[in-house]
């Protein structure tokens, strides 16, 4: 029978079925961080249980950590306590920990793939909703809650309902200055925040094939905002290339065995989806959110909605409320709206390729006076790679802050936040009320749109700015890995 890639991985991991629709899946990889884990560890302790497979479990610190100088003490007492608790738990339960000071520390969804902890064909879980990101490498990845995390710690399995499957086809060529982020923002805008509820999204089509692995991570990351249970892309040569040389990826004979298995992970012709959606990305312009959920989104040249144009009173009220919260006038142009801050970061858009994109736009240009523009690399490895290349000099010359890695303004659990009423263009994935701090006004956009907005001090259309070529960046050092995965991913991108 023709199967999708998700079905193949799913079937390989089912240990038992209970009732009509509950499957016990083996978990090959469990990633955990300081915020959602302490209560799960506490549960283990109370019940006198161990972590069944510490060798398949990895912990790191990302949500809480300051992105300032690591030599300084962590000022926030609660953050410090959670970080301490994770360190203690990792030691007690023999789990590998990438802590605050580790050179491999970073956001869990950036670190997993870059260290090769994420590989195709595995089941992976993490106590974080954006775990779908790992699907970009062909893993079956689920965000889970704390109780589920405790169950995985103790049993290395998870009870799951089988998600329905939705095919999300992206076809066509991106126009210049339009990115994977714009595509996924448009998909959510089109389908709504509940458009993919109960479904796993498989991203397919020419445009997805042409994307680099990191671009695929951006779309898989945000599928969650459309309600998807997870997202996946069938793995290909680009994924193997991305993993080749990663510290935890298989090597030698294991690598050959792995590749043989990975090559079977394709969606068969004739495999069935419960739902289909298709988007021609060539018609897209850069997208930006205007409201308080990711579906409240428009093209950067468009105007924000006017509540009176909507018949449904509930909808009208929701738009009114969002406009008021965001401090926008019905029907106004979004471009040109003054901003206070720009944040280039998060598990959506803070990988090396995102930083290269920003460098190409800001090289030789300056951030507008009065705008706080910060770049928070997705991991310390991303940061060091960027520094080897000399990208940080371009950012610092332009007037950006160049910080250490963490979730930062995406969730504002550390000091990086917008003040009440402050407006920022962020490359992250959520613009909910108060997300970047109480009263914060968040516009989600691509790294290019964010960078252009930083230059103007207003929401800006990135298409006004020429992009420097890679040569013009005058990079200081480019490793073979960077060359083949970031600068020239096979088959364009």
């Amino acid at each position: 029978m023709a199967k999708t890639v998700l079905e193949k991985i799913w079937d390989d991991h089912v240990l038992a079925v209970r009732g009509e629709d509950e499957y016990l899946l083996y978990v090959d990889r469990h990633l955990t961080h300081e915020v959602t884990s302490p209560i799960a560890f506490e549960g283990l302790r109370t019940a006198g249980r161990r972590v069944r497979r510490p060798d398949l479990t990895f912990a790191l610190m990302d949500h809480n950590v300051p992105t300032s100088d690591r030599a300084l003490p962590v000022r926030d007492e609660h953050s410090r306590e959670q970080m301490r608790a994770l360190a203690k738990n990792a030691r007690e339960f023999s789990i590998t920990l990438f802590d605050y000071f580790s050179p491999w520390q970073g956001i869990v969804h950036v670190v997993g793939p870059e260290l090769g902890l994420t590989v195709p064909g595995i089941t992976l879980v993490c106590g974080d909703s954006h775990t779908s990101t790992h699907g970009a490498l062909g893993a079956l990845a689920f965000g889970i809650g704390t109780s589920e995390g405790e169950h995985v710690f103790a049993t290395q399995t998870i009870w799951m309902r089988r998600p329905r499957q939705m095919e999300v086809r992206l076809e066509g060529d991106f126009k210049s200055h339009t990115t994977a982020k714009d595509a996924i923002l448009y998909v959510i805008r089109d389908l709504g925040t509940g458009g993919m509820i109960g479904h796993a999204a498989e991203f397919r089509g020419e445009a997805v094939k042409r994307m680099s692995v990191e671009e695929r991570m951006t779309i898989c990351n945000m599928a969650i905002e459309g309600g998807a249970r997870t997202a996946i892309v069938e793995p290909d040569e680009k994924v193997y290339s991305y993993l080749d040389g990663a510290p935890y990826a298989p090597t030698g004979d294991d690598w050959e065995d792995a590749k043989k298995y990975w090559e079977t992970l394709k969606t068969d012709n004739g495999a069935k989806f419960d739902k289909s959606y298709r988007l021609d990305v060539s018609k897209l312009e850069p997208q930006i959110t205007w409201g308080t959920n990711p579906a409240m989104c428009i093209g950067v040249s468009e105007t924000v909605p006017e509540p009176r144009m909507f018949e449904d009173p509930a909808k009208r009220k929701m738009i009114e409320r969002a406009l008021e919260y965001m401090g926008l006038k019905p029907g106004q142009k979004i471009e040109g709206t003054p901003i206070d801050a720009v944040f280039i970061g998060s598990c959506t858009n803070a990988r090396l390729s995102d930083l290269v994109m920003v460098a190409r736009l800001v090289k030789g240009r300056k951030v507008a006076p009065g705008v706080r523009a910060m770049i928070v690399p997705g991991s310390m490895l991303v940061k060091r790679r960027a520094e080897r290349m000399g990208l940080h000099r371009i950012f610092l010359e332009a007037g950006f802050e160049w910080r250490n890695s963490g979730c930062s303004m995406c969730i504002a659990m550390n000091e990086d936040r917008l003040g009440p009423g402050e407006r920022g263009v962020l490359t992250s994935n959520r613009n909910f009320e108060n997300r970047a701090g109480p009263g914060s006004r968040v516009h989600l956009a691509s790294p290019l749109t964010a960078a252009a907005s930083a230059l103007e001090g207003k929401i800006a259309d990135p298409r006004k700015y020429s992009l420097a070529s890679i040569d013009e960046l005058e990079l200081e050092w480019v490793s073979p890995w960077i060359e083949r995965n970031i600068l020239k991913p096979m088959g364009g991108g």
Binding site: S147, E150, T193, P480
Partner: protein, 209 residues
């Protein structure tokens, strides 16, 4: 380990809003905790308190007639967004035992079941009707999990549907870890014995910078 949930009788409060995300249910700053107790005071924090932590007037659950509500009648897509189980703990600590909505965020729904918070899906029309009934104040519902019914004071009965395993878990309140290990321990061991070497993460190199 959650207590069994068999019957919930109590007052319903209306929350007239779609797409209530878990960031609204409990803001990220209150995730920095090491215990699941005491989170009720942070429930819907930004809607209930101003920037200095002073109570704002008028949020539905703070109004006199709804302070003892145990049932929340919401809208569409309740509990979307982050995976934070704190959202469920905060609702429960506040005293909420049941949320009625036309749809729920997936992870939120799963977390609720694990903690014994009953989530009932009803069609949009019925949810709307219950909400406007509740808005009048003093709507007491009698929910029977076994029978999958909601009884209204008028005598009307609304049926709902739970997946069989969800229902069983609520009724039994069982320790899932214990049950999994007891019933499926052999299967887990058998899978592990066959697990391919290439699936095991072992560090062999350092990253190429």
């Amino acid at each position: 380990m959650p207590e069994p949930v068999r019957r919930i009788v109590g007052k319903a409060a209306p929350l007239e809003m779609d797409d209530v995300d878990t960031d609204q249910i409990i803001p990220a700053q209150f995730l920095k905790v090491l215990s699941r107790k005491g989170l009720g005071k942070y429930l819907f924090y930004r809607w209930r308190f101003d920037e200095d932590g002073k109570p704002k007037e008028g949020f539905v659950l703070d109004r006199k007639e709804f302070r003892d509500a145990v049932i929340l009648v919401a809208g569409r897509n309740f509990g979307i967004g982050s995976s934070r189980e704190n959202a469920v703990w905060a609702l429960m600590d506040f005293g909420i035992r049941c949320v009625i909505a036309s749809s729920f965020g997936d992870i939120f729904y799963g977390n609720s079941v694990k903690n014994g918070l009953l989530c009932i899906r009803l069609d949009e029309e019925t949810v709307k009707r219950l909400r406007s009934e509740a808005a009048k104040g003093g709507l007491t519902l009698d929910i029977d999990v076994e029978a999958e019914t909601i009884k209204l004071p008028s005598g009307e009965t609304i049926n709902f549907k739970l997946e069989p395993n969800v229902k069983r878990r609520l009724l039994e309140g069982l320790d899932e870890i214990e049950a999994t290990l007891r019933e499926y321990g052999d299967k887990i061991r058998a899978y592990e014995a066959k697990m391919a070497r290439f699936k095991m993460p072992r560090q062999t190199t350092v990253p190429l910078e």
